[in-house]
Amino acid sequence: MTDLSAISAFLDPYLIWAFRAPVHPVAAFGLGLVVVALMATVLGELCMAAAYFGNKESFAKSNREMVRNNNMSLRMLVRKNKEGYKLLNKEANEYFGKNFFSRIALFASSLFPAFFVMGWIDLRYGDIEFMLPWLGKVGPGFFFVPTYIAVRIAFAKAQKYLPVFKTIRRKVRENETTDEELLSFDDLNKEVQQGQAALKNNDSRVPDAS
């Protein structure tokens, strides 16, 4: 099995049964789409969890360093240290890049089953054309994509009630918790205001030398 059509051929028995419900052909097609979309979603979510927990330290580290460098660079700016700000900002950007691309790979791990299903649908139903008003002829993929998205959204909402997925959600949240949050302008403004208030209090306690 070394070519692409072989993947679809291999998947065929696992996916086609869903389309063979003893109901009206159009209803069977719709039901089949929902079932394969659900299979792709569940498998994708499990793979994403495996990828996340397999690299959990790496995710936590790049997140921590990104936050630390960003916050420190902003605090330097508040103290008018432009050079220090620039240096640490560059570091923060580098860690952001790492974080960004590792999250891309993570997202990929949840999406790949959907692409295989799309490939299989092309092989199985590619020759069938549906006529739609305004759009004209469309292929079967036209119906799979919105079905997959609807199923994925519904699954995300149901996750907190599902065993296994409930635990995954909790453990991810625990790992993402860091000592400090990424500073936003509002947080920084509060810090500056607190600093100024503290400074005023100190000034008011200094006795007048005159």
């Binding site: 692409l4 993947i7 890049g97």
Partner: protein
């Protein structure tokens, strides 16, 4: 990872996919009919890539191994994944030679070339929107910069596919791709020079000094971003009382050039945008991050949509699925190897590869010279 951001990415993909379904069949069918009439396709042959009779049936094992390498790059060097994916599509899968076999005059050459470009973009574009939403939620943009960049990006990513889809043949595409990879090699080489490494060291020292004397230094009385003057050629703003300035024309031109380049070559462009934004306006990380992620995402959706809608470019879905699996495996391996291989050596390895691939593609594409395999 926010479920909402996943939803947003999926919704954007849906919009593109839904609309492209009806457009793509026509262009491929026309190209197959033309090539069959010219005797270049045997209609009875087994269907391979994109369902074209007699086209190569791509080897999953090679493809998967290459995608593992792409994923490894993603998780260690940080970017360039799109470039490596492109190298795989052209060389590893043998699609380059297959497309060339049709000669310049047949549509099939251009259909396969465009398909390679779009496939590269799917690999990166699928996820560029992920962090856009999160970062957008956290901070505000320096409005003039954000607007300038968005204009450049959208114009660039619509114009290039509209002007070049179906017009650039594979030979030229490979030549330009090679030049771009060479440029990247130089860019990355600078990153490993002592000068660039010095800045890392200086950053570490600055952080240490700062942590040791948190309370020292005069605090700014001004808060946030204030645009103090804005003309066609100079925007000056203070950021917590520290003055920065940039030329607003630079982000427009820069955004356009980066988006155009990314769209033409079928890469993300994020790795160019981040240093560009940092250098141009000295913006803090979380503003740069949000802006660049959003710009890459907007650019990608635009670019993919315009290929698919305006020109009906077909895509091999199972191939992208297999590549995503490889990328996941590679990104799993990456963090484990980076313990033993320092980042700087990884970058050097990439530079060697970039020079090898870049030279090979440039010479082959523009001059037809093959100096090494």
């Amino acid at each position: 990872m926010s479920k909402r951001s996943i939803t947003i990415v999926l919704a954007a993909l849906a919009a593109v996919l839904l609309l492209q379904e009806s457009a793509m069949a026509g262009r491929l069918a026309d190209a197959i009919a033309e090539a069959t009439a010219a005797g270049k396709i045997d209609p009875t042959a087994a269907k391979g890539y994109l369902g074209i009779p007699g086209s190569p049936d791509l080897n999953i094992v090679y493809g998967l191994l290459w995608a593992v390498w792409v994923g490894w790059i993603f998780s260690t060097v940080g970017a360039f994944g799109g470039i490596m994916a492109g190298v795989g599509h052209i060389t590893i899968y043998g699609l380059g030679d297959y497309a060339k076999g049709f000669g310049k005059s047949l549509k099939m050459n251009k259909v396969v070339t465009d398909s390679i470009r779009v496939s590269n973009q799917w690999l990166v574009g699928c996820s560029a929107g992920l962090s856009s939403y999160n970062y957008w939620k956290m901070g505000r943009l320096v409005a003039p910069l954000g607007i300038a960049l968005a204009i450049g990006s959208v114009v660039g990513s619509w114009l290039v596919p509209a002007l070049t889809a179906g017009k650039v043949n594979l030979k030229e595409y490979i030549g330009y791709f090679g030049l771009f990879v060479l440029f990247l090699g130089c860019y990355l080489f600078y990153d490993t020079t002592p000068a660039a490494q010095r800045s890392k060291k200086a950053a570490k020292e600055a952080a240490k000094a700062f942590e040791a004397s948190v309370a020292s230094g005069e605090e700014s009385a001004e808060m946030g971003v204030k645009v103090t003057s804005f003309t066609m050629t100079k925007c000056t703003f203070t950021f917590y009382g520290v003055e920065f300035s940039f030329n607003p024309l630079i982000p427009v031109v820069g955004g356009f050039v980066i988006a155009a380049l990314a769209s033409f070559l079928g890469v993300g462009g994020g790795f160019l945008l981040v240093p560009f934004l940092t250098a141009v306006a000295g913006l803090p990380m979380y503003l740069v991050a949000g802006t660049s992620a959003a710009a890459v995402f907007i650019g990608m959706v635009n670019s993919i949509a315009s290929y698919m809608l305006l020109r009906g470019t077909p895509v091999e879905w199972s191939l992208i699925g297999a590549e995503l699996v490889g990328i996941v495996i590679g990104s799993f391996i990456g963090p484990r190897t980076s313990k033993y291989i320092p980042d700087v050596w990884l970058k050097r390895l990439f530079i060697v590869l970039a020079v090898y691939v870049g030279m090979r593609y440039t010479l082959k594409g523009f001059f037809g010279i093959s100096i090494w395999p």
